[in-house]
C-alpha cells in the first residue's frame, strides 16, 4: 500500500498530492507539465518534496516532520522511465543483471534467463540497446525492474514513446504483466485511452492538485471538474441556469437551448456531453427530448471516424460549438452549413458543480 501526501513548490504552481493506492492499477491522469512525473520522482526519491509524508508497505520513505528521507536506492520502487533509461554501453543481458540486488544475487543468471523468456527477449541478449526496437527496449526495462523485486511498479507514460501500431500490442503485454504482478501499480499519463485500457482507478491531476481517487468508470461517467471532464474526453460543455430542479429542467446558456435531465443537481453550474452521445436526427426522426438545432461548420475525418463541428443557437465560438462524432451507419446531412438537429439522451448529460 502506498500513501502519498506531500507538497512541492514548482515553477508556476504548487504540487499538492494526496492519495493512497493498494493492490490496484492507479492511473494519474493529467495534461503535460502538470507535475505527474514529478509526483513519481518524489515517490521514488529522485526528487524531494518540500513537506509531507510518503509510506510504502509500512516503510516510511519520506517524512518531513521527522526528517526522514530515504535514498532512492533504499526505497524499492520500480520506475519505468518514459524512454526506458537502458544503459547504453551494456548489452541486454548486462542491463538485466544490473537489476538484481546484491542480497538476491543467488542464481542471477537463472533469473535473468527466465525473464528473457517471459518477456520474449531470447536472441537479443548480447545486443546493445540502440539496436533494439522500441517495444523490445521497453521489455528489457521492465525485465530489469522485475528482477529488482520492487514493492511498487511506477510507469511514466508507458505508451507515449511507441509507434501507434505497437501500442495495442504493448497494452496487452502490460495487462498480462499487471495480472501477474499482484502488487500496486502507478501509471502516469495524459492519454485517457491508457487509463481506460489499463487502470482500475484514477486520480486527475490539474494545476498541481489531484482530485479524489475514483474508479475509471466513475471518471468517465461523472468527472468531478471541468478539467477532469476535458481529460476524460468530454468536448461539449455549456454554462447552465437551472429552471426547475425537480423536473430537471435547465437552460444550457452556451448552446442556447432548454434541456432536461434527471441527473441535474442543485449546485450544477455546467453541463457536458460526449461527442459520441449526440445523435444526428434525420428528417423522419420523431425525437422530441433534448433536441438542439445546429448548423454544420466543418466536417472532417473519413470512413469510421467522421466528425462534425457545428454551431448552436448560442453561437459559433467557444463553448457554443458542438463536436459530434458520427456513428457507423448514421446519415450524413448533405453539404456544409446545412442546418439539422441533434439530440442528447438525458442520461448522457453530466453536470459539474464548477
Amino acid at each position: 500500500m502506498l500513501k502519498a501526501n506531500f507538497k512541492k513548490q514548482l515553477h508556476t504552481f504548487e504540487l499538492d498530492i494526496d492519495f493512497q493506492a493498494d493492490l490496484e492499477v492507479l492511473g494519474i491522469l493529467g495534461p503535460s507539465g502538470c507535475g505527474k512525473s514529478m509526483t513519481l520522482k518524489c515517490i521514488a526519491g529522485i526528487e524531494t518534496p518540500d513537506s509531507g509524508y510518503i509510506e510504502l508497505d509500512g516503510v516510511v520513505l519520506y517524512d518531513s516532520a521527522r526528517k526522514i528521507n530515504l535514498s532512492p536506492q533504499k526505497r524499492h520502487v520500480g520506475y519505468l522511465f518514459q524512454h526506458y533509461a537502458l544503459f547504453p554501453t551494456m548489452s541486454v543481458e548486462q542491463n538485466l543483471l544490473t537489476g538484481i540486488r546484491p542480497d538476491q544475487a543467488k542464481d542471477s543468471r537463472e533469473k535473468s534467463k527466465q525473464v528473457l523468456q517471459t518477456l520474449k527477449l531470447e536472441g537479443v541478449e548480447k545486443k546493445k540497446p540502440h539496436l533494439l526496437s522500441g517495444g523490445q527496449r521497453q521489455r528489457v526495462a521492465l525485465g530489469r525492474i522485475l528482477l529488482n523485486s520492487p514493492h511498487i511498479l511506477m510507469l511514466d507514460e508507458p505508451l507515449s514513446a511507441l509507434d501507434q501500431f505497437l501500442k495495442w500490442r504493448v497494452q496487452l503485454d502490460l495487462l498480462e504483466l499487471f495480472e501477474r504482478w499482484q502488487k500496486t501499480v502507478l501509471l502516469v499519463t495524459h492519454n485517457r485511452e491508457e487509463i481506460f485500457q489499463l487502470c482500475d482507478s484514477v486520480t486527475v491531476l490539474t494545476d498541481g492538485k489531484n482530485d479524489a481517487k475514483q474508479t475509471v468508470t466513475e471518471l468517465f461517467s461523472a468527472p468531478q471538474s471541468l478539467s477532469a471532464g476535458v481529460l476524460a474526453g468530454y468536448r461539449n460543455f455549456s454554462k447552465i441556469e437551472i429552471i426547475d430542479l425537480e423536473k430537471g429542467l435547465f437552460t444550457a446558456l452556451d448552446w442556447g437551448v432548454t434541456l432536461d435531465s434527471p441527473k441535474l443537481t442543485q449546485n450544477a453550474l455546467h453541463c457536458g456531453a460526449f461527442s459520441q452521445s449526440l445523435k444526428v436526427l434525420g428528417e423522419t426522426d420523431q425525437e422530441t427530448q433534448n433536441v438542439i438545432p445546429v448548423a454544420c461548420l466543418h466536417q472532417f475525418g473519413k470512413m469510421e471516424n467522421e466528425s462534425l463541428v457545428c454551431s448552436t443557437p448560442g453561437g459559433d465560438t467557444g463553448n457554443s460549438i458542438l463536436y459530434i462524432e458520427l456513428h457507423k451507419g448514421e446519415t450524413l446531412p448533405p453539404g456544409k452549413s446545412e442546418s439539422f438537429h441533434v439530440s442528447i439522451p438525458a442520461q448522457d448529460l453530466i453536470f459539474f458543480n464548477g
Binding site: 521514488a44 529522485i46 536506492q73 546493445k128 529488482n148
Partner: protein, 228 residues
C-alpha cells in the same frame, strides 16, 4: 646527443595527465551537479589558467610554492624539500595549465549525460559510486578520452610556466619545450628542429593510440538520443 629532455618531458606529461585525469573528472562531475550560478563561478575559476599567459601562471606558482611561500617555506624548513627548481616542479605547472582542458571537456560530456540513466540506476538500488564508474564514465568515454588527449598534449608542450618554476638546467630540469626554446634562442636551429620533430612524433603516437582505443567501442548514445 643529450636525451634527457625526452625522458624528462615524457615522465612529466605522463604524471601530470594522470593527476589531471583524476582531478578533472572529479571536479567536472561534482560541479555539473551544482546550481547554475555556482557552476558558472567554478567554471570561470577553474578555466582561468587557460586565459592567463603561462609565464604569469608560472609566476603565481612561484608565489605559491617558492621558498618564501607558506607551503614551500614550510617544506624547506621541516623536510629540506624544495618544491621548485626540480624536474618534478614542472608537474605543478603542467597540471595547472592543462587542467582546464580536461575539466571543460569532461564537464561537457557530463552535462550531456542523460540524467534518467542515473535515476534508473538509483531506483534499481545501485550505489552512487558504482553508477559513476559503471554507467556514467563508460557512457561519457569519448568526451573523457578527448579531454585526456588534449591535456596530455598541452602538458607535453608546456613552456612558460615550466620555465619559471623548474628553470632550465640541461640534464636536470630541461624539458623538450624549454630545450627547444633555448636552442632556438641561442641560434642552434638544427637541434631545435630535431626536438620539434621528436615532439611531433610523440604526439602522433599518443593520438593514434587514443583513436584506436576509441574505435574499439561501438557508438555510445544516451537513452534519449536513441529515440531520435
Amino acid at each position: 646527443m643529450d636525451w634527457f629532455p625526452l625522458w624528462n618531458s615524457l615522465r612529466i606529461a605522463a604524471i601530470s595527465t594522470v593527476v589531471i585525469f583524476i582531478t578533472g573528472i572529479f571536479a567536472a562531475w561534482r560541479i555539473a551537479k551544482l546550481p547554475r550560478f555556482l557552476k558558472g563561478l567554478m567554471d570561470v575559476i577553474l578555466t582561468l589558467p587557460l586565459v592567463l599567459p603561462p609565464t604569469v601562471v608560472g609566476f603565481f606558482l612561484l608565489k605559491l610554492f617558492g621558498p618564501y611561500s607558506a607551503i614551500g617555506g614550510f617544506l624547506i624548513k621541516s623536510a629540506n624539500i624544495r618544491l621548485v627548481m626540480n624536474w618534478y616542479s614542472a608537474i605543478f605547472a603542467s597540471v595547472v595549465v592543462a587542467f582546464p582542458l580536461m575539466y571543460r571537456t569532461a564537464r561537457g560530456a557530463f552535462e550531456s549525460f542523460d540524467p534518467t540513466l542515473r535515476f534508473a540506476g538509483q531506483t534499481l538500488g545501485i550505489p552512487n559510486w558504482k553508477i559513476f564508474w559503471k554507467i556514467v564514465l563508460p557512457t561519457c568515454k569519448q568526451g573523457i578520452l578527448a579531454g585526456t588527449v588534449l591535456a596530455f598534449a598541452r602538458a607535453l608542450g608546456e613552456y612558460g610556466a615550466t620555465s619559471m618554476i623548474s628553470g632550465y638546467t640541461p640534464g636536470r630540469t630541461a624539458t623538450i619545450s624549454t630545450t627547444v626554446y633555448h636552442l632556438w634562442r641561442t641560434g642552434d636551429d638544427a637541434q631545435a628542429y630535431l626536438w620539434v620533430l621528436i615532439n611531433v612524433l610523440i604526439s602522433f603516437v599518443v593520438l593514434l593510440t587514443i583513436n584506436y582505443l576509441e574505435s574499439r567501442q561501438s557508438p555510445n548514445q544516451s537513452a534519449q538520443e536513441l529515440e531520435r
